[in-house]
């Protein structure tokens, strides 16, 4: 298991993280205009000499690979520069916004697992019945309706027309758990629907596949009840592909928070990134994109760990 993880770390994850950092670093250099102006937010009335001396003080007169290395070193130490608008360090801006995005992503994942896994198992057991029809309908609609559309409709009906929960704005947990959950309820549903749909479809087909296997006949023949067969054998094996789907969809969740945070005016990382683009605040764009992409890679790494824990074939296969 440990060897398997180390091998994945060295051959896949570290190169990917390096690639991401090169891509983000390179993208910022492709922005049209003088990089010193972009980086430091200088106006047009700065003379060439001043530019050159500022560039030298930031190490921008050195060759690109050296610049990249020192930038990477700074980033790894948590120094990602300062926002051009607020002057706040980018790293602390990200950390300030992290709890909101994290809460949203975790709640959406929990919601989808709580709904989709039981429904998917039931749909597969009672294949062709009414539960299956409902599950398939949810699956297709969930995949077809974009999250921002659901969000807009939820705001229109649930908050504006029926006034059940507040429309927008975020209440931190420190102001009370109930108020906090109320303020994040609609965003969670909007973000979670696609995840519900994809987990549901995957659970259903994975359980269907397991149900057709021969070991179930053995399990039933040795006198196990149907509940033990489903929970102890089918579900355990069917969960492996479901975990993969959840891991892959984390990327979608992190991207989806950008749009959901914008609609519901939640102060998260996605909104920070989007505001930075419209304000041409490049250090913040750089920091947030790097942070989100790196988080995605880390989550994928964790998915691999869970994978190994659930499926002994993966960890034993690598050790033998």
């Amino acid at each position: 298991m440990l060897r398997f993880l180390l091998q994945r770390l060295i051959t896949v994850f570290i190169p990917t993280l390096l690639g991401i950092s090169i891509l983000v670093f390179g993208a910022m250099r492709l922005i049209p205009g003088n990089f010193v102006d972009i980086l430091i937010g200088l106006g047009p009335d700065v003379s060439e000499e001043q530019r050159a001396s500022i560039a030298a003080s930031y190490g921008l007169d050195r060759p690109l690979p050296l610049q990249y290395l020192s930038w990477l070193g700074n980033t790894l130490q948590g120094n990602m520069g300062n926002s051009l608008r607020s002057g706040e360090p980018v790293a602390s801006a990200i950390l300030d916004r992290l709890p909101v995005t994290l809460e949203l992503a975790i709640l959406a994942t929990l919601l989808s697992l709580l709904i989709a896994v039981p429904l998917g198992v039931l749909a597969a057991i009672y294949r062709g019945g009414p539960i299956d029809a409902i599950a398939r309908g949810i699956g297709l609609i969930g995949l077809s309706v974009p999250n921002f559309l659901i969000a807009t409709m939820l705001v229109l009906f649930v908050s504006t027309k029926w006034q059940i929960v507040p429309t927008t704005g975020f209440v931190p947990i420190s102001d009370g758990l109930i108020a906090n959950l109320k303020s994040i309820l609609l965003p969670t549903i909007s973000l979670g629907l696609l995840l519900i749909a994809s987990v549901l479809r995957m659970t259903r087909s994975a359980v269907l596949e397991e149900l057709s296997k021969e070991y179930l006949t053995v399990a039933r023949a040795k006198g196990l009840g149907e509940r033990a067969v489903i929970l102890g054998h089918v579900l355990r094996n069917a969960l492996v592909p479901v975990i993969t789907v959840v891991g892959i969809q984390t990327g979608y969740l992190l991207g989806g928070t950008v749009i959901i945070e914008q609609i519901f005016a939640l102060p998260g990382i996605g909104r920070l990134a989007l505001d930075a683009v419209s304000q041409r605040d490049y250090p913040v764009v750089q920091g947030t994109t790097l942070f989100i992409a790196a988080s995605f890679v880390v989550v994928n790494m964790l998915t691999d760990v869970v994978y190994g824990l659930v499926d002994p074939r993966i960890r034993l296969g690598e050790e033998s």
Binding site: I20, L140, T152, L156, Y252, G255, V258, A293
Partner: protein, 300 residues
Amino acid sequence: MSTVRDELRITGRPTTFARRVLLVVRTSWKRYPTGVIAGVALLLVLLIALQAGWFSPGDPVDMAPADRLQSPADAGYFGTDVFGRDVLSRIIFGLRISLGVGVASVLFATIAGTLLGLVAGYVGRWPEYLTMRLMDVLFAFPSILLAILIVSIRGAGFVSIILATALVYTPIFARIVRGSTLSVKNREYVQAAVASGATTPRILFRHVLPNVSTPILVQLALSMSGAVILEAALSFLGLGAVPPTPSLGSMLSENRTYMEQAPWTVIFPGLALGLLVLCINMVGDAIRDAFDPRLRTTAP
């Protein structure tokens, strides 16, 4: 379960192209009725989008302040927005953009991903490692983030979002094609082609590509709905369509402020977008079921 070829054999009549098409339609209808209905709807939408000027009742960008926020009962079929623009006309022109961006970006992704996947899978060694790590890197960026990065370099606009969407889907095609190429490259017919002295490009395009084309086609159909959603999402965020160009996504965000007084300005574009994606997904599911029975999601 009869295939087109079986039916051709049974009827024994000389086959013309028209009859072949008819048979394909008939067998598809028997096996995938929902997919065919969705497909016909999609063709209609495509026709409307291509001939948007002829189908739309008014001009999509003409402002008429006197007619602002007219309800569907008072003006047009779907009412007017805050600038007095006809909502139906804007939806029709918006569909053109949704489909145009979707088709263009997925085609780019298919071509780029297929070429990369073929070379990576067939050549192996360091070109494979390098290509696939590059694909991992692109894959690690949530699509909206990749678009943010590109828009911050190039500015908002359709070229930026086509580029972003194509970059999002290229790794998916590259991975699928590489996997299929790996499983095909040691087959006898490829070995025979190598032994008879065929050049590598010829082997790749004449022998390997035709045999890995099914998963490419299936993925193409499945990617299309994602690309349409992504265009709408980016335009919603103001990274795509530049006003006053109508896009289903930008209509939703522009009219959100007025949706309490004029719900039709968001409900109709939303409905159009949802139904469009639903149709594409249903066609995609049918195509996948037809080519890859192992992944069948609908009950037989």
